[in-house]
């Protein structure tokens, strides 16, 4: 729950400003004391990080895109620093059976490490493939939106380190307004493929089809190019209809078996 004293905060990651320097990846690892992941040469792009993981909470995607992005360009690099979405309706949080995953006073989604017992159910419950068990302590980890820095009134390490302000940190309502304004600006400049991710498109929706993300993104191509799903429904929307059908099937089998056994009733 959001306390009255605290306004929700979040990220706005504007990929049109990203230069792919990976300072965010490094700053995140340093501040959060995350271990190195080893080195795997993927030979596909300048991205050898591959994806977010339990030990990598910012990941810069590199897309070599012929003809995409700026008008008239023959070759464009699309770069995007991906991060936990801090969903308004968070699949990991709803799935968590221990209450380890909570919503903080800053409206962010946070995993309490002393509570998590590594059941791993949050992993397939995240529609963005963000949260993962760490090979180090076998517990679930992801971006904390630098909860400790929030407490000290500091912006998250990645946003602080970003040299182009591609990663912006602030109050969510202000970021949303700014994101819309930035989209309009880019469209006017002729970047027709620009789109926002996390306001309507891409945001995990609850049963009523509502929900936004605490991490907004400005993309320059379809979400799938960045390995982001376009339309996301909260996995837990399934629980009620699926349970009702399961109970119905169970009752029918019960009645069938009762008839098979029965002489009474």
């Amino acid at each position: 729950m959001i306390t009255d004293a605290q306004r929700p905060v979040g990220f706005f990651t504007d990929s049109s400003l990203c230069i792919g320097c990976k300072a965010c990846e490094v700053a995140c690892k340093e501040w959060n004391q995350l271990p190195a992941d080893g080195y795997e040469f993927l030979a596909t792009s300048y991205d050898n990080t591959r994806s977010l993981s339990g030990t990598t909470w910012r990941h810069v995607a590199f897309v070599e895109a012929p003809g995409a992005g700026a008008p008239g360009a023959q070759q464009t690099w699309l770069m995007l620093s991906d991060v936990c979405k801090h969903c308004e309706h968070a699949g990991c949080l709803q799935a968590c059976p221990t209450g380890a995953i909570v919503r903080t006073e800053f409206n962010t989604v946070y995993i309490q490490q002393d509570v998590c017992n590594g059941c791993g159910y949050c992993v397939p419950a995240c529609p963005y493939g963000v949260v993962d068990l760490s090979p180090v302590d076998h517990q679930a980890h992801k971006c904390t939106l630098c909860y400790d820095r929030q407490r000290g009134g500091l912006e998250p390490a990645c946003a602080k380190a970003c040299p182009t302000d591609s990663i912006q940190f602030g109050y969510l309502d202000e970021l949303q307004a700014h994101a819309r304004q930035r989209l309009e600006e880019l469209r006017q400049r002729g970047v027709g493929a620009a789109r926002l991710y996390g306001l309507d498109e891409g945001a995990a929706k609850d049963e009523r089809g509502e929900g936004t993300l605490g991490s907004l993104f400005l993309l320059l191509d379809e979400p799938e190019r960045y390995n982001l799903p376009a339309r996301v429904e909260l996995p837990q929307n399934t629980v009620v209809p699926s349970s009702v059908l399961t109970a119905a099937a169970g009752l029918l089998l019960w009645i069938g078996a009762a008839i098979a056994f029965g002489r009474k009733w």
Binding site: P97, P124, C126
Partner: protein, 305 residues
Amino acid sequence: MKTDYYGLPVLKRPHWQWEIALYFWTGGIAAGTYLVAAIADLFGDEHDRPTVRAGRLLPLPLVLVSAALLIKDLGRPEKFYNMLRIFKLKSPMSAGAWGLFAFGGFAGLSALLEAVAAADNLRLLRRLVGLAGAPFGLFLGGYTGVLIAATAIPLWAGNRLLWGPTFIASAFSTGVAAIEAALALSGRGNRETLGKLDRVHRLSLTTEAALLAAGLARLGPSGRPLTRGRWSSLFVPGALGVGLLLPLLLGLLPRRREPSSGSTLLRAACVLLGGLLLRTCVVYAGKDSADDPHAYFALTRRGRR
């Protein structure tokens, strides 16, 4: 050309291993045996006494094994008790932990009553316990299907409405099979009760086969990890052939007056093996399905309805 990010997975693979597949099976059998015993006790007659006895004694050891498997699967088994820290209806994992806990109580009570009061003097109490535990049995047999459905994994979420019903049908069929096997091995079965078990068996196997067929049709290309991938060589001949088709065909054979314990045992073994292979293939093929970005993009693009 399909849009993706160098073909890299969008989702993270669930870390679940054989413990979870085995638990889905043992939990299902525990639920099935309990339910069949409760039904046989409530609606059956004196011929069904061996069925009731087997179905009262089997759930407890199965629940204990299930709990051990679940704890072993945790990343931090020593913190398992945090599962009982909160109760969250929207999380099938939380509801499941509590459900297994509650069902374990009924399984223990049933076994205790059966052990201490073999005579009919506590019949009413035993029937009440059977009936009171039945909702928990139904829950335990089916929630595992809801649990996998409430994820983003294409194989699991793509058939979100039918995994639960499929698993509860399999819980019934494997439960009946376990009781049949116990009766055949102990030589306590009789023609009347085996005939009734046979009817329940055919009902649950037919239901399970129909639900699986509907599920695979609904999944379409998202079902490939089960039907084409590396798990298909176990799933198609094993779970479908040995686990469903063969027992259904065996049931069609003309029956002799006295059912031979050999043929009963054979069919029970087929169904039990089939149930294990079904859970194993669904869990492991689900992990493979998490690696396929196109299956996931197709699911999110079409919406789930």
